[in-house]
Amino acid sequence: MTPNAQIEIVNVGFQYAGAEKIALKNISLSIHKGEVIAIVGHNGSGKSTLCKMLNALLIPAEGTVTVDGMDTRDEKNLLEIRRRVGMVFQNPDNQLVTTIVEEDVGFGPENLGVPPAEIRVRVDAALNEVEMSAYAEKASHALSGGQKQRVAIAGLLAMQPEVLVLDEATAMLDPRGREEVLSTVKKLNQERGMTVVMITQFMEEALGADRVFVLSEGRLVMEGTPKEVFNERALLEESRLDAPAFVKLRDELLAAGLPISHEAMSCEALADELSRVLKA
């Protein structure tokens, strides 16, 4: 056991009924309070399966998953685990359940038996947090994809979770919608210390994480800071992944002898380095 781990995954294995392939094999990792974690991996690598283990939507066939010490296999923990670990899925159209935005946000706390006056307070605060207060009484179907995902996040916030899990929550959004969702999540992490677990196919999104886990064929093949992980270009390639474009450019410039920092991984950082080197 790692001390202070909020979510602890120990030797987890899983296989779907009737499937030939093993979905997860011998995964061990821990996630700490307030961390931003990115999980990347090829299609079918087991990312979503692992994600569903975090709030007991799936129960490991082997090994254990504990959330704040609560074992997901123990049925009496389920409600509390699902309150603490909120999940946002890929398709914005599949997760809003009512027709009006504020009713949707109140749906979770209502099911938890929260008193109506308290629900009102939580719904208002949650919508405010994701900057959707102006849409409280609007029809949810008329929102853009990014707005729908933010309402889905508000619905989780109303349950006062400790951890937000985003399972490719930006995959179906346009660039503006992606930006809206990412900045909302970033704010929740920085201002409220919310633990964030993001599953993504966009390597650029993983750059903003504290730690990155790389899954391939159901196995955990790498873990480390974005810098450590994206420096392993060969291993990424083997895992059907790729380094972010600016990391690749940095490496090409370094190879050509430009004395820029190995730390530069984003557009802005690279521009700073290049302007220092080229102006000198």
Partner: protein, 284 residues
Amino acid sequence: MPIELTQLSHTYLPGSALAYPALGDISLTIQDGEFLGIIGHTGSGKSTLIQHLNGLLLPTSGCVLVDGLDTREKKLRKQIRSLVGMVFQYPEYQLFEETVERDVAFGPKNMGLEEAEIATRVSEALRLVGLTPSEFAEKSPFELSGGEKRRAALAGILAMRPKYLVLDEPMAGLDPRGRREILALIESLRSDLGTGIVMVSHSMDDVAMYADRIAVLEKGSLFMVDTPEDVFSHSTELLEMGLNLPQATQLVRALRARGIEIEHDYFRMDELAQDLIGRWNHDR
């Protein structure tokens, strides 16, 4: 012969209180064998536009001619749909048959082709998308991986041997290698078979890399249609529309903001890299 859009306008629910003008006065010619990228913010009319290319939607005014065939003519529609293959977002959600082979055969069957011809086209289409018929034909589509399902769905369209292929976000949700493979496949259809490609994408880098021309839609109008170089030299306007820029263009802007003069509007990372390396070597 090309696809010609002449003063195309489309209003949803015309004449009702909910009438919504989605496209206004679009004139555009898509040349034979051309790779046309279409970019625009959500709600800019991209989906409405592409659904006109094979008569799924009909113009409220103006017209669309596919190789001279008017999409408004009901009796021509079957012919038009076999000329223009349409691949929607997440096409694998539309796989429904018990085997990959039967799914891919669905389109050619509807075209009324002979059994032997259908079989030829099915195996041809599967090979084109990189799914070996002997390995995949008898599998259930639901046994395939995400990337394989996408390819199988694409094969179902290619089996109709379309002259033009229209794709809406064909790489969405795929892993980085899957994205590269689908893009390479699309490009090879164009270069090897001469298929005209119309691709809608939010990924500016992919559009920048492959398109001959890019059409930019903004609030239902055609803002511009030009080469990637010319389109991305309008980076400020594109950002104002809520669009992204290719990553090379982003870096060019960031360098210019720091007082480094980059004369050329690069949109490809490899070309920008050569320029930067050249500067470094020259300075020394």
